[in-house]
């Protein structure tokens, strides 16, 4: 079920109504049934994967906790990793690696007969497998105790607001909330509604409008060059932000209405002053997941490495840090999808972060606004790798970004509005649509800049007229300027 569908607009109020009408002890049943229904309305049979992941991690966590034998504990943890990563590999990465092997075998004229695994990628598999995985690891690390209530654990794995595209919740944060009684709290519900409204605005109005322009360019990349590609890349940066942050806000808002608090996934990432800060503001639940469960253990392991430990303390840190960053960020890139482009995206970001740390003392001396602008452009360059459909397409885009830049001049010279000639701006769409897209981006980033300096929430609290005007502005923005073609969220494919 998509958040931006009529189906969800009917489903959610019904769930809320029943949720607050039934006693607390039965609410987990409602949440479980509604979460499974939410998922099954996309593809019913894939619920089995969630059930497998749930059962394995439920049992494994209890066994890890019970066992005093370290080898046994390790065995159960490995089992959890094997099952979750196995599911992920089978459904998401198998065909990619299989294709690469086939290419390799063909290159050496060898026979290769392993067929492709023809199945749809289960929506949200990367999110719920990572969520259950961190639960088992946390139990293994004695950070949390295993949950004995299978039903509530199943709700933790499948909680519908964040099931298909996160935020990836830590067990220590979300599970205790299933035991708390959530009464109907007017302020909390209103706050949840406001967050949801903002999420819908970002998705339906901004992201989906930008998507029309972005898809025109990136789905036909060889037909574009110069400013068309540059605009397409900028627009994609804002599209993916508004799409994913929009989803996260709807998830956070709807969970809040039900009384749950989810981790904030985005913190105005395009105002980051360096690339490391960007990752502390972008997809926070994933970047912290990789920090805690991949980067840190790897870094500590490297530091203890026999060869590395021979260097000075500073060098030990630098080598371990850079190597861990390279591995972690590359894996993070690959997490997004089975394509060389995502691998390149991750690798590129790991290089940029390493470079930043090596040049930190010079970078940090720069003017704040130049830092923001440069960081924005570093990330924008990364979006080309992320959005292009293949490595060769991204190579084409990168090598053609600055060719044919006289397009704008040609466009102006050819434009004769009185004859209605200016119907298509650089092949991106009609000029009014481009203008609207730019205005929408300005509106969103304007709000972000404002939020960076003052608390909009606090400001509006004492000004009911402005507050209500803002609600109406957003609501009517969605109703009048929304794109209602049920465009799926970009992160659903991951």
């Amino acid at each position: 079920m998509l958040f931006n569908s009529l189906h969800f607009l009917i489903f959610f109020p019904i769930v809320v109504l029943i949720y607050f009408s039934i006693p607390h002890k039965y609410r987990w049943i409602l949440l479980l049934v509604s979460s499974y229904y939410f998922y099954m309305s996309w593809k019913a049979e894939y619920i089995i994967l969630i059930i497998i992941s749930t059962l394995i991690d439920y049992i494994v966590a209890i066994e890890i906790y019970k066992s005093k034998n370290q080898r046994k504990r390790k065995f159960f943890l490995s089992l959890s990793i094997l099952v979750n990563i196995g599911l992920l590999f089978a459904f998401k990465y198998f065909n990619f690696f299989n294709d690469q092997m086939r290419l390799l075998f063909n290159h050496f004229s060898l026979a290769y007969n392993i067929p492709a695994f023809k199945v749809l990628l289960p929506v949200g598999i990367s999110f719920y497998t990572f969520q259950t995985l961190c639960y088992s690891i946390d139990v293994y690390r004695n950070k949390i105790k295993p949950l004995k209530h299978l039903g509530k654990f199943a709700v933790y794995v499948s909680f519908f607001p964040q099931l298909v595209a996160g935020p990836i919740e830590r067990a220590s944060h979300l599970i205790p909330q299933f035991f708390e009684k959530h009464n109907f709290d007017y302020r909390r519900v209103v706050q949840g509604l406001k967050i949801t409204l903002w999420g819908f605005f970002l998705k339906i109005v901004v992201a989906d409008r930008l998507a029309i322009i972005v898809d025109t360019v990136f789905n036909n990349i060889y037909d574009y060059k110069g400013f068309s590609l540059i605009f397409g890349t900028y627009f994609f940066g804002f599209q993916i932000y508004c799409d994913f942050a929009g989803y996260s806000f709807i998830a956070i808002g709807t969970a809040k209405i039900l009384g749950f608090s989810l981790i904030n996934n985005f913190r105005r990432p395009f105002l980051a002053k360096n690339i490391a800060e960007f990752w502390r503001r972008w997809h926070i639940s994933l970047s912290t997941w990789f920090r805690d469960y991949a980067f840190t253990p790897f870094y500590l392991k490297l530091k203890k490495n026999r060869i590395i430990s021979k260097f000075s303390q500073k060098m030990q840190h630098n080598i371990s840090f850079i190597l861990s960053t390279l591995v972690t960020l590359t894996l993070l890139g690959l997490w997004h999808g089975a394509n060389w482009t995502f691998l390149a995206f991750g690798f590129y970001h790991s290089l940029m972060i390493s470079l930043y740390y090596l040049t930190k003392k010079y970078w940090d001396r720069m003017n704040k606004y130049i830092q923001i602008l440069l960081t924005f452009h570093i990330t924008a360059f990364g979006w080309i790798l992320f959005r292009a459909n293949s490595i060769s397409e991204s190579f084409y885009a990168i090598t053609h970004l600055f060719t044919g830049l006289n397009q704008i001049k040609d466009y102006i010279l050819n434009t004769n509005l009185s004859k209605g000639i200016a119907s298509n701006f650089l092949g991106l769409g009609s000029p009014d649509k481009i203008l609207i897209a730019v205005l929408l981006i300005g509106f969103v980033e304007g709000a972000h800049i404002l939020q960076e300096h003052i608390s909009i929430e606090k400001y509006l609290r004492t000004r009911p007229f402005i507050r209500w005007s803002c609600y109406l502005l957003l609501l009517f923005g969605i109703l009048l300027f929304g794109v209602f073609n049920k465009t799926p969220f970009i992160y659903f494919q991951f």
Binding site: Y186, N220, G420, I421, G427, L472, L479, L480
Partner: protein, 333 residues
């Protein structure tokens, strides 16, 4: 606390509903009434008073490419983006409910007439609900949601707020007897190839080239015409060479493609198909863009079509229409 919430929710709901209904009403009165669709309907009523014998149907190629002022008792009832399903329901309504009985209808057969894109989008519900039986349409289109269609057709302003700009920004096109006249001159465009590629991409990328549902609806149109003794002329409209070549990037086997699409029409003995795709190759000043004629082009082309129609109608008088369909389609260059 719940009481407070309910009270405020009701207040908010009433306020937004009132506002929304008002905006929707403004949209219907100030925007929709000025749309080409509404104007076409109004011009149709006037034209119908004088009698309509020749009816041009279809999408933007027809809309821009035929000037009915040059053909007595004719009307251009095409609309942009119209697909065969919509044309079928429109024709059915005209015949059954408005008792219109033209002697001949003229339909387009374009390279992108059968793409899935054309039937999978449903726009302008406010207009099509007059013609389309949503229940029946949904039977043949499993993805079509009747509820959503009802909502969008009742509240056409949903997602279309940008159209309010049309009140401020006046379009440069005009309309006569359903024909949209535009004066853009494609010969003045420096990068014709690029524009054609962008157009072809928008028509053919990520879509099935021949959607069975559209084939089905074209057959239904032909059946409906036959049942009502209406002759049918099917034409392939003039396009530029650039657009034709750009389309071939997607239609790799054009021969096979033509065999299939033309076959639907050629199977009918009483239907004539004429191919004018290459008629104006190199003559860019007749085009609005890479695949549409401008007002000047429409005037020239209408004269050509007029002769074809006269021939077909004459054949009827001389009882010559019973002749067999020519094996090869007429190819005018």
């Amino acid at each position: 606390m719940i009481k407070k919430f309910i009270k405020k929710t009701i207040f908010f709901f009433i306020l937004t509903s009132l506002l929304f209904f008002s905006i929707n009403m403004c949209y219907e009165n100030f925007v929709l009434k000025k749309t080409l669709l509404a104007k076409t309907d109004a011009q149709f009523i006037d034209a119908n008073k004088e009698g309509i014998n020749i009816l041009f149907l279809g999408a933007s190629h027809t809309k821009r490419g035929i000037n009915p002022l040059l053909i007595p008792n004719s009307f251009n009832y095409a609309s942009a983006d119209e697909n065969y399903a919509e044309t079928y329901y429109k024709l059915k309504t005209l015949i059954e409910k408005k008792q219109l009985k033209p002697q001949i209808i003229i339909l387009p057969l374009e390279l992108n007439s059968f793409t899935s894109k054309r039937i999978e989008r449903f726009n302008n519900g406010w207009y099509w609900k007059k013609y389309i039986d949503f229940q029946e349409f949904a039977k043949f289109n499993p993805k079509f949601s009747i509820l959503e269609a009802e909502i969008t057709s009742t509240f056409p302003v949903l997602g279309n707020g940008l159209d309010f700009l049309s009140i401020i920004i006046k379009g440069k096109s005009e309309m006569v007897k359903g024909h949209k006249r535009t004066y853009r001159d494609f010969s003045q465009i420096s990068n014709k190839e690029q524009e054609a590629i962008v157009k072809a991409n928008s028509h053919f990328k990520n879509t099935k080239l021949i959607d069975e549902r559209l084939v089905f609806y074209l057959k239904r149109i032909l059946d409906l015409a036959k049942e009502n003794n209406i002759k049918v002329l099917v034409i392939k409209f003039p396009i530029t060479e650039e657009y034709y070549k750009a389309s071939l990037r997607y239609i790799q086997d054009i021969e096979k493609f033509n065999d299939i699409t033309e076959g639907i029409v050629n199977d009918r003995k009483d239907v004539i198909l004429v191919d004018y795709q290459r008629l104006y190759w190199g003559n860019y000043s007749l085009f609005h863009n890479s695949d549409h004629l401008n007002a000047k082009g429409a005037e020239e082309f209408t004269q050509v079509i007029k002769k074809d129609i006269e021939n077909i109608l004459k054949e009827k008088n001389n009882n010559l229409l019973k002749r067999k369909k020519p094996k090869k389609i007429i190819f005018k260059e």
